[in-house]
């Protein structure tokens, strides 16, 4: 019923697209992290106007489906902004993933920042640091430590979500499998191969996360530090 030889033959074909999938995920992750940090700091410091704008941004990107957002960027935006006519699927997908996950990460990073003890803020101000210095030197590094294990969760989410790029005509892992299946009519085998490859990648990441969590815990309880 399942053609194992076909599957085995397909593995190297799909694996060729792992770098693209991974690259899109890493790129989106970095973009989302930077944007999330900016949004979270704006929210925590309640910077006028920017604070409200960040709120609307976060609400929109959390409140609408990622697929709808991707279609908006790829098919919708060129109609309104001519510069976007030239946008390719990979760029549109990464833009969408970045904005979407920045909105989620901003909220959880904000939580991590607010979780830093009040006296850390006061101690930094008392030595004469500006709000920016306080944030950069004292608060964000402590929030990041708490946020690190969660960050792996977001990366896993982003990695899996890159498969949606296939709906924008990008031939990544999912797109490649779809093409193979369309030629051979072996849908089960093709999508099973994709699923297993995603699964293995996510499993590896989970191990990394478990290791990160153990390390954070050790630090929190005052063990030896790097």
């Amino acid at each position: 019923m399942i053609d194992l030889d076909y599957m085995a033959g397909l593995v190297p074909v799909i694996l060729r697209f792992v770098p693209l999938t991974f690259g899109m995920a890493v790129g989106s992750m970095i973009g989302a992290l930077v944007l999330a940090a900016v949004l979270a700091v704006i929210r925590v410091l309640r910077i006028p106007v920017a604070h409200q704008a960040a709120g609307v941004f976060i609400s929109f990107f959390r409140g609408t489906p990622l697929l709808v957002q991707l279609f908006l960027f790829y098919y919708g935006l060129p109609q309104a902004i001519p510069a976007f006519v030239a946008i390719d699927g990979v760029t549109a997908a990464m833009l969408g993933l970045t904005l979407h996950f920045a909105a989620y990460m901003a909220e959880s990073l904000r939580g991590a920042i607010l979780g830093v003890a009040r006296d850390q803020w006061e101690a930094a101000r008392a030595v004469g640091m500006t709000e920016g210095q306080t944030m950069r030197r004292i608060i964000l590094p402590q929030a990041a430590r708490v946020f690190a294990p969660t960050m792996v969760n977001y990366f896993v989410d982003i990695l899996k979500s890159t498969s949606l790029a296939f709906t924008l005509g990008v031939t990544e892992m999912m797109g490649a499998a779809q093409k193979e299946a369309a030629g051979s009519f072996r849908y089960l085998e093709s999508f099973l191969v994709v699923a297993i490859i995603y699964w293995i990648m996510v499993e590896v990441l989970s191990r990394v996360q478990a290791w990160l969590e153990r390390r954070t815990e050790r630090r929190a309880t005052g063990g030896t530090r790097a």
Partner: protein, 248 residues
């Protein structure tokens, strides 16, 4: 309230919502003086210190250090920063930077705020650590230090800034009894080195032996102040007498 004071508060009034915590505080600290502030808890002692470096914003009054005198209620962001940079603060809870080692805690203000080169700041931090007998803990994080060690680093962080005014808010109150002695000894050294300081404390021994002046606060006002010998042996106000009877 000008001229002779190294640092002063004038007419300082602070409310939290409906409750008035400070009711027009006037206090003048001479350069090199060590002033001990005593009084029942909930009286506004911490708030007084925290208004001086703008961790709290008062509703009225003036705050002065050296040639800088600002309206406590209307101080601009730049004035707040300038006032903070003329003070150092020691917290009851130590409040060491949790993401920094002992050495980094001391050097941080020097590099980030004073713009001192890293190597020079590290050298200064190490020299202070050696001086207070904690050189071997230079690379330890706060979570690996005892309470007494943390508070000594807290004081060292303040010492490094070489501020015009050092504010200390009950620096020994959170300590296990075994660590109180070493922290008091360091505070004595700082005072004897001529650092201008205002210390809120429950350690009457410290107030009596080290302070040049004792200020007794109750209900958001300064009830009585004077040299320790007089305050402790001959308090004039009945509230001071009652308080001292309770704590001595």
């Amino acid at each position: 309230m000008s001229g002779r004071c190294g640092a002063s508060l004038a007419g300082l009034t602070k409310r939290f919502g409906e409750t008035t915590v400070l009711r027009g505080i006037d206090l003048c600290v001479e350069p090199g003086e060590c002033v001990a502030v005593i009084g029942p808890s909930g009286t506004g002692k911490s708030t007084l210190l925290r208004c001086w470096n703008f961790l709290e914003r008062a509703q009225a009054g003036r705050v002065q250090i050296g040639d800088l005198s600002v309206d406590a209620a209307a101080a601009t962001r730049a004035e707040v920063l300038a006032m903070r940079r003329r003070t150092s603060f020691v917290f009851q809870s130590y409040a060491l930077f949790a993401n920094k080692t002992a050495r980094q805690n001391i050097a941080e203000g020097l590099t980030v705020v004073r713009g001192m080169p890293q190597a020079q700041a590290d050298a200064r931090a190490m020299s202070i650590l050696r001086d207070i007998g904690l050189a071997d803990r230079a690379d330890a994080y706060p979570s690996n230090l005892s309470g007494g060690q943390q508070q000594r680093i807290g004081i060292a962080r303040a010492m490094a800034l070489d501020a015009d005014l050092m504010l200390l808010d009950e620096p020994t109150s959170a300590l296990d009894p075994e660590w109180v002695g070493e922290v008091l000894a360091l505070m004595r050294r700082v005072a004897e080195a001529g650092q201008t300081m205002v210390v809120v404390t429950h350690e009457m021994q410290f107030a009596r032996e080290i302070a040049n002046r004792v200020v007794f606060m109750d209900g958001g006002v300064i009830v009585e102040e004077g040299p320790p010998e007089r305050i402790f042996s001959d308090p004039t106000d009945p509230r001071t007498r009652a308080f001292l009877q309770r704590v001595l």
